[in-house]
Amino acid sequence: MKKGISRRSALGGMAVAVTAPAVFGNDSAWAQSGSTIRFGGSLGMSGRYAETGLNIRQGYETAIKFINEQKGGVEIGGKKYRVELAIVDDASDPARATSLIQRQVDGDVSFFLGSYGSNIVLPCAGITEAAGKLTVQVGASADQIFQQGYRNIFGFFPRASRAWVTSIEFFKSIAPKPKSVSIIATNDAFSKANAQAAAAGCKGIGLEVLDLLELPEQVSDASSALATIRARTPDILITTTVDQNSLVIVRQMIATDTNVPLLYQFLGPQLPMYRESLGAKATGVIMQLPWEARIDFKDPIFGSTKAYIDYYNKNNTRALSYHTVGASSCITTYVEAMRTAGSLDPAKVRNALAATNITTAFGPVKFSPEGDGDAIVMGAKIGQVQSGQVQVVYPKDVKTADLIYPTPVWAKKG
């Protein structure tokens, strides 16, 4: 009997704890209080892309901390504001994402920082767009996002179909001239869109696309794709896979002695963990560099790229990634647009954002008329792993080392 009562009261307590905030929920806690600017939005903090989520989150937090602690806030239209972050985890579930974003829209958050994955971003954009709220994000780059006629959503990365402009120019510059290319992608939106863009670009400059191989979304074995590569070896092998899958593929290439003159891994080699795990074998792998630490840019908040890196490293133990810098620069870009507009009116800030032409710790920021990053100004540079370090090998004006081509076979490395 006693047990029954305690169980019941435990449950009762639980029920009250659970429902009370729903009924008496204080959504005005979200409200834009007089002297605070709130940045809302969601990130996928749990799920396959949680690592990216954490990198982006740290970027946001770094910028917020710096602005409040080092600058004492920001001055807009003659008034000083503190900045605040209100990010939630969308768990990559659209039902959850839309309702949490709605909560922030209801709570008068006007400035959103975006998630990634078009199945999350688009339904959320529908809500923010309808409410006249703004989004600046450093994750999603699917073409569809920028083809809806939305006026209020901006992205740092050029849309997928334009993300290969620099890379294609780079392929043209290689001597001796490569003749063929094969592409390995995985069956997810990001990888597929980029593989198609890469294939189209390569065809455009006369490179023969031998194979476009699509693996399942989570790769545990690429042996059959690699058997195809060995049977019909291209001059360049491109993988448009995410970090974890890239590492599976490259390791299996080494283990099965699958050699190509040039291995281009869109994502992966940027990670220190990737390079450490491969050691000398990593030498020669090409990647896209959305950001490069050694190229210094002026930043209206942090001062410069170098100053940003110093500040970040002083306050964090986690290695700096391009997503982190990009995320910080999203906030920089927002703040600059607010200053230019001299107002927190979303419509005015929107126009300032559309006209943005600044440099940040991340690099130059300029949006296309549809809102994605300008493919030339914000396009990625090309890097290559050399002696465990990432060197910029293209474009020529910013390069830090010469390209190694063709790269030695695996057995000759280390």
Binding site: L54, E214, A222, S223, Q244, R251, A255, T256, D257, L271
Partner: protein, 294 residues
Amino acid sequence: MNGTLLFQTLVDGLILGGIFSLSAVGFSLIFGVLGVVNLAHGVFILAGAYIGLWLKGALGLDPLAAIPVVFLVLAVIGGALQRTLVSAAVQRGSLMTSLLITFGASLILRDLLILAFGPDIQSLSSTWLLRTYHVGGVVIDGARATGLLASLVLLAMLAIALHAMKVGRAIRATAQQSFAAGLCGVDSNRIYTLTFGVSAGFAGASGIIIGMINPFSPFDDAYWTLNAFVTVVLGGVGSPVGALLGGLMLGEISTLSSQYIGPRFPNVFIFCALLLMLIVRPNGLLGNAYKASV
């Protein structure tokens, strides 16, 4: 058809299958003996990999040498989970409620992994740097072949333990009884705890091997649980041989469909094979090691 390519594909499937087998055997045992579908299985595997990672970082212990330690740690965690939560759920509700319990446990354990190790991709060792072997035109991936060997050794040890050791026989005896029936001489609750522990231990050990071959992150758990599901249904419930057979089938279906139909197709084929097998022989090729077919 190109003979070398076919042979290469078969070898690749075999090697992949060996890893699937080991990763599924714990799931199979729990399912066969307790009738519980353990949705925390994938997290057990990853926990094994992460503990291996920690031992390597903190003590410089080689991952393969860490297997016994990982086995023990996971066995304790698994046993404790059974003793406290799973048994309570089965007693108060039904076998079905145990699904909710193991699902809840998987959410908690996964967050604990993230707390301890972060959401980042990790990698256990550089054993993949092992040699590549060329046998008559067929390329053999040294690392994965090592994984297959280790899997076979561990599976054989389990098979021997189940048949030759007293505890093993007790486990099999318990499984053969109907769940509700009273037991004579064997403390069934103790055996359930033991089974859960041993199974979690094997999951952990397979985590080490998986971690040596592929990078891993805390969110891979669903993938491994699902694979274990498929392996068990294909091969047969409750026995190491069933898991081995199921894993090998899974590996072969995966590589053959990938090579000859298209690299994006294996998942469709795997699940179709699963459904077909369920319809034709619900207890897998070998049937349930302990019970007559349903």
